[in-house]
């Protein structure tokens, strides 16, 4: 039992959870319904920030920090960067939904079904571990992530991590090659 958790019982957890979840859902809906791409991007940022809040509630501050620094801070800036250079007037005239909406709904329904299935079958189990489990301990989150990734003995994701970074490197080079004729 971690003394810190015992000393600081989480405050108003359901309130924050439902609040953040609601923000996320509203943001997500706005992302696809807004015609103005910049508004969509702003909604997406809100969603991502709310998600970071949920990570914090899950005692995963490192992931939350990375979420903010990478998604909300880094990637979305580049998104906005590109969106701004596109003429907004033109995008306003374009059709917002294409013919694949049916497939989209099917895919979203399937994913939602999966979530519900997992939730119902594992309720009280792995997804929502009881209070006091080590994964609650904030102080070990950063080290935990690091040891999962890099530790020689317990690390299982080292290879996947390195492969992912290589993939990103290839993507960067590809983007440069495509965007610039003369380098």
């Amino acid at each position: 039992m971690n003394p810190q958790v015992a000393a600081n019982p989480p405050v108003a957890t359901p309130f924050f959870f439902y609040g953040l979840a609601a923000i996320m859902i509203i943001g997500g809906i706005l992302v696809i319904t807004r015609k103005n791409a910049v508004h969509s991007a702003m909604a997406l940022i809100t969603t991502l920030l709310a998600q970071a809040g949920l990570y914090l509630m899950l005692y995963a501050p490192f992931v939350a920090g990375v979420q903010i620094i990478l998604y909300a801070g880094g990637i979305m800036v580049l998104f906005l960067f590109v969106i701004m250079l596109i003429s907004i007037e033109r995008t306003l005239k374009e059709r917002q939904f294409n013919k694949q909406w049916l497939i989209g709904i099917v895919a979203a329904g399937a994913l939602g079904g999966l979530f519900i299935a997992v939730y119902t079958t594992t309720k009280g189990g792995v997804l929502f571990p009881p209070v006091g489990r080590p994964s609650y301990v904030e102080a070990q989150n950063t080290q935990g992530v690091a040891s999962l990734l890099f530790d020689l003995h317990t690390g299982t994701y080292m290879f996947a991590f390195e492969i992912a970074s290589l993939l990103l490197l290839v993507a960067i080079i590809g983007a440069v090659v495509m965007a610039k004729k003369r380098i």
Partner: protein, 431 residues
């Protein structure tokens, strides 16, 4: 009622931050204190920048509003609040509205983890430094959206410039920060930490500021950070996003009045925020000079007098200038005002001698003094340097700072692990 008082008092003996102790009352008090303190700091910074810059440029600066222009920032603030709030015709109203708030929110939120002292922080997060970098990077969003929403060319170019600039300098900044974090773990006893308080504590434990650790690696990391932080806050000589001679005022060209003042506020609090990071990581945060050498009670007592003495000195300075004021009836109110200001400063100085206060503000004083040093550097840069061009700025960021930072990171790791590495080398070759 009694419970409440006890709840409030229960924190006082604690050696944790209010957030760490989970005391909501004191956390709120600290939030308010930091907010007010920051606002006062920005106002003071406004006045100081104008005065110091003026004296660097052989002129006087504000002299009319209050003695030596002391009330000038207040007059400015009033003017900005009363000014008409113009929203351009073709602007995207919602985004135009939201953008300044994003910037201000990002600039203020980072102060949640800034450690003014071992217990003087709103909270101590396990990921403190990561949180600071992450949240401060959000201000780019505000700048970009502000530039875009203005629906005008100059702000758009300014916004694009600043976003490109901030994103690229974040990389170099991050590398320098990582090398400092690495230093927290590279010794016999301590384990690494991302917590802001933990980092300062590590410097205390390791008996040196990280500025001097692994000489000259610490200094190089600090220099990289010091350059990157000027670029991050869009100040001279990296003030291209608001280069007035090229882009009139950059991303906030179309803003006026209150909304413009929010940008102003955000810029200065961001300057203070990044300076705080630098102070925390390399200059020993709240520690007074030579905390390990001069740690005897006598020295502690001597150091605890310095804040009070400083304020007394400032008060004396005010009295000196009061005496030098022209003896003309027109200047009477100004003279009285200056004397009054001196009295206030001296009183603060006296209050700082009270033992209970003395023991608590020492950390805050040293931290603020170090940050103030950086603020002075900002002003000095502005008075001295011409402005970089955009491509040169990018060149400095990507071709100089980034490789240096990477090499530095590797070198820090190698130097820090040299014992183990030698051991392993012996293991391999020694047989």
């Amino acid at each position: 009622m009694h419970d409440l008082i006890q709840y409030i008092q229960s924190y006082l003996g604690s050696d944790k931050t209010p957030g760490g102790a989970g005391n909501i009352f004191w956390a709120t008090v600290y939030v308010l204190l930091v907010f007010v303190g920051l606002s006062v700091a920005v106002i003071a910074m406004n006045w100081l920048e104008r005065k110091i810059l003026a004296h660097m440029q052989v002129r006087l600066g504000p002299m009319r509003v209050g003695p030596h222009g002391l009330l000038q920032p207040i007059a400015d603030a009033l003017k900005l609040l009363l000014k008409e709030d113009i929203i351009p015709e073709g602007a995207d109203k919602v985004v135009f509205w939201v953008a300044p708030f994003i910037v201000v929110l990002a600039a203020f939120t980072v102060f949640v983890v800034v450690p003014f002292g071992p217990t003087h922080a709103i909270t101590d997060m396990n990921i403190g430094i990561l949180f600071m970098l992450g949240v401060s990077s959000l201000s780019v969003l505000g700048i970009v959206t502000a530039g875009w929403a203005s629906n005008s060319h100059y702000p758009l170019i300014g916004a694009l410039r600043s976003s490109a600039q901030m994103v690229s300098y974040e990389v170099a900044m991050g590398l320098a920060v990582v090398s400092a974090i690495l230093m927290t773990s590279l010794n016999e006893s301590s384990t690494g930490t991302l917590s802001m308080i933990g980092i300062v504590q590590a410097q205390f434990d390791q008996h040196e500021w990280f500025l001097f650790k692994f000489f000259p690696l610490g200094i190089i990391a600090f220099v990289i950070f010091a350059i990157a932080m000027v670029a991050e806050t869009n100040r001279a000589p990296f003030d291209l996003p608001e280069a007035e001679s090229e882009l009139t005022a950059g991303f906030h060209t179309e803003y006026s009045g209150f909304r413009w003042s929010l940008f102003f506020l955000a810029e200065y609090s961001a300057m203070i925020a990044v300076s705080s990071i630098a102070v925390t990581l390399w200059l020993g945060g709240w520690l007074h000079p030579f905390p390990n050498l001069l740690s005897s009670p006598t020295w502690e007592l001597a150091f605890s007098f310095i804040p009070g003495l400083t304020f007394l000195f400032l008060g004396a300075l005010c009295f000196y200038h009061t005496a030098r004021m022209p003896k003309h009836p027109l200047f009477r109110i100004q003279t009285i005002g200056l004397a009054g200001f001196g009295v206030v400063l001296a009183l603060i100085g006296v209050v700082l001698f009270i033992p209970a206060v003395r023991d608590r503000v020492g950390d805050i004083f040293w931290f603020s003094a170090k940050v103030a040093g950086f603020m002075y550097l900002y002003i000095w840069y502005r008075g001295t340097f011409p402005r970089y061009r955009f491509d040169q700025l990018m060149k400095v960021g990507w071709k100089v700072l980034l490789p240096t930072g990477l090499a530095l990171l590797i070198l820090t790791a190698v130097v820090g692990m040299r014992g183990e590495l030698l051991e392993q080398a012996k293991g391999v070759f020694g047989r």
